[in-house]
């Protein structure tokens, strides 16, 4: 039986434009994150960084991309070919999917119509993000398994056990946030912060746990054990070459971008500029300024990711597990209890 659903053409066009824009922006930002990573690492180490391709080396990501495509594609003869190709595809796909529920801005007013700058504001947005992120583990796991190589498998096991253990603490820290906001829709969480204080005021501990866990989820230093070059050659992507390797590395940067966006949306008011409504500006101007403010926050968070990476050494595996299970999870539970008590009392 066919269910008659009428989708207005305008709606389709509007959403298509937003989807394409979000996709392009996350790819471009991830691309320039690779450049920023090299630049930041260089500057923190008293070097200059890439400066040959284009002015200030701005074309470096393009050169890297071309290099990745031109490289010889090697699939090990003992590898499981289908899974070998599936691994990076999953990693890349899940990285791109998360951007769909993040509100990139308030709404634009065009000819009396309100156009929300969000692909879709589903009422379980938080759950959606967690679901998609946990599928991302499969990309790593399948890649490591399909390579048929000890080091890859070790890296993959490390990666998946790390991601799974830190996801628990991450989820628990989010539960406290959901208790204060009372909603799972990210659009609404941000909306509430425009009229109230930012959530960081109510959930400082929750934010801290969430941030540490997102470092672990993105496999960034100090939690970059899955790809520790010193012990595991390259970790789960040891056997990968050409653009498949590129996809893995690229997915990491998209994840970093998305988790920066999630952190600023959940705890730092998203597109909210405090007290902008007192200026009495036009709605469209406010929205555009808000989006720019949102991206500024994201860029600052990405910088924080890199800054931490080039400061801290890597954890040992048992330290990582200790921190995850014995400190982060109890701390998150305590945070829930404190939050619950406060909600009851006030």
């Amino acid at each position: 039986m066919e269910i008659p659903v009428e989708i207005p053409v305008e709606f389709l066009i509007e959403k298509t434009i937003i989807v394409v824009a979000v996709f392009t922006i996350s790819l471009v930002i991830a691309m320039y994150s690779t450049y920023a990573e090299r630049k930041v690492s260089a500057l923190l180490q008293d070097r200059i960084g890439p400066n040959r391709a284009g002015p200030f080396g701005l074309l470096q990501p393009l050169a890297d991309g071309v290099k990745f495509f031109m490289k010889e594609e090697i699939i090990p003869s003992s590898a499981n070919k289908a899974l070998f190709i599936l691994g990076p595809s999953i990693a890349m796909m899940t990285a791109c999917l998360t951007g769909a529920v993040i509100p990139w801005g308030s709404y634009l007013e065009i000819e009396g119509k309100h156009i929300a700058l969000q692909v879709t504001d589903i009422n379980i947005g938080v759950l959606y993000i967690f679901a998609v992120v946990s599928i991302g583990v499969y990309g790593v796991m399948i890649g490591g398994w399909a390579s048929n190589n000890k080091f890859s498998l070790m890296g993959a096991i490390r990666a998946s056990s790390q991601m799974i253990s830190y996801e628990i603490a991450m989820g628990l820290s989010i539960i406290a946030l959901i208790m204060t906001t009372g909603t799972l829709s990210i659009g609404e969480i941000v909306q509430q912060q425009t009229t109230d204080f930012w959530n960081i005021v109510y959930q400082p501990l929750g934010f801290f746990i969430f941030m540490v866990c997102s470092f672990a989820e993105c496999n960034r230093t100090p939690f970059d054990l899955p790809e520790c070059e010193a012990e595991l050659v390259g970790g789960y992507h040891t056997e990968y070459s050409s653009m498949k390797l590129g996809l893995y590395l690229f997915a990491e940067y998209i994840n970093m971008f998305i988790s920066s966006a999630v952190m600023s949306a959940f705890y730092f008011g998203g597109y909210d500029i405090p007290y902008i409504e007192t200026l009495g500006l036009d709605q469209n101007v406010v929205t555009i300024l808000g989006s720019m403010f949102f991206f500024t926050k994201i860029v600052l968070f990405i910088f924080l990711f890199m800054w931490v990476r080039w400061t801290l050494p890597r954890f040992r595996y048992d330290q990582l597990m200790n921190l995850g299970w014995k400190i982060m999870i109890p701390m998150a539970i305590v945070n829930i209890i404190i939050t619950g008590t406060c909600i009851l009392l006030f």
Binding site: L43, L44, D46, I48, W307, W310, L312
Partner: protein
């Protein structure tokens, strides 16, 4: 015996709570890395900017000619003997009549080869040479694709005719 005041006694004492949560230490580390963001960079933009070589830099060898353009080398073999890496091969020959404008002494090196892969650029050949013939210049020995291209014969070593002792590349050693 105490040489400096910088020695530190290492103690394995129990860490306090503030030390155990590591956050102050992490913030301290991040402050240090951030301060490096604004420091002067050590990079030299190589092909455009070049650092000056040290006055005593030892690079590619040169076999000198005298003021009349005659080769100084008399194939005595002292450089080959002094060479700790055994990089130098010399075959001596007698100067024929009519070659007085080419070679300064009655004996000359018909073959003078230095294997740049063996050479350690110690400069002992230069020290050993009694005839003021072999010097180490500031030129670099470039990379090659084949091993045999690293064996430099007279074509690459002898100072080109008509050039003077160039102050930059054919530096005078010991004034």
């Amino acid at each position: 015996m105490q040489l400096t005041n910088r020695s530190k006694v290492v103690v394995d004492k129990k860490m306090t709570f503030m030390e155990r949560i590591y956050i102050p230490a992490i913030l301290g580390g991040m402050r240090i890395t951030l301060s490096h963001l604004f420091k002067k960079k050590a990079t030299i933009q190589y092909p455009e900017q070049q650092r000056e070589f040290s006055f005593v830099y030892r690079g590619k060898h040169i076999l000198k000619r005298d003021e009349q353009g005659r080769e100084n080398c008399t194939a005595c073999g002292l450089c080959a003997v002094s060479c700790p890496a055994e990089a130098i091969t010399i075959i001596a020959d007698e100067r024929k009549k009519g070659e007085e404008h080419l070679y300064r002494e009655e004996k000359y090196a018909s073959l003078y080869e230095i294997n740049m892969l063996r050479c350690i650029f110690c400069g002992l050949c230069e020290e050993a040479c009694p005839k003021d013939a072999v010097y180490l210049t500031e030129e670099l020995v470039p990379a090659q694709y084949n091993r045999k291209d690293f064996i430099y014969g007279k074509d690459k070593l002898v100072q080109p005719l008509g050039t003077s002792a160039h102050p930059k590349t054919y530096k005078p050693y010991k004034k």
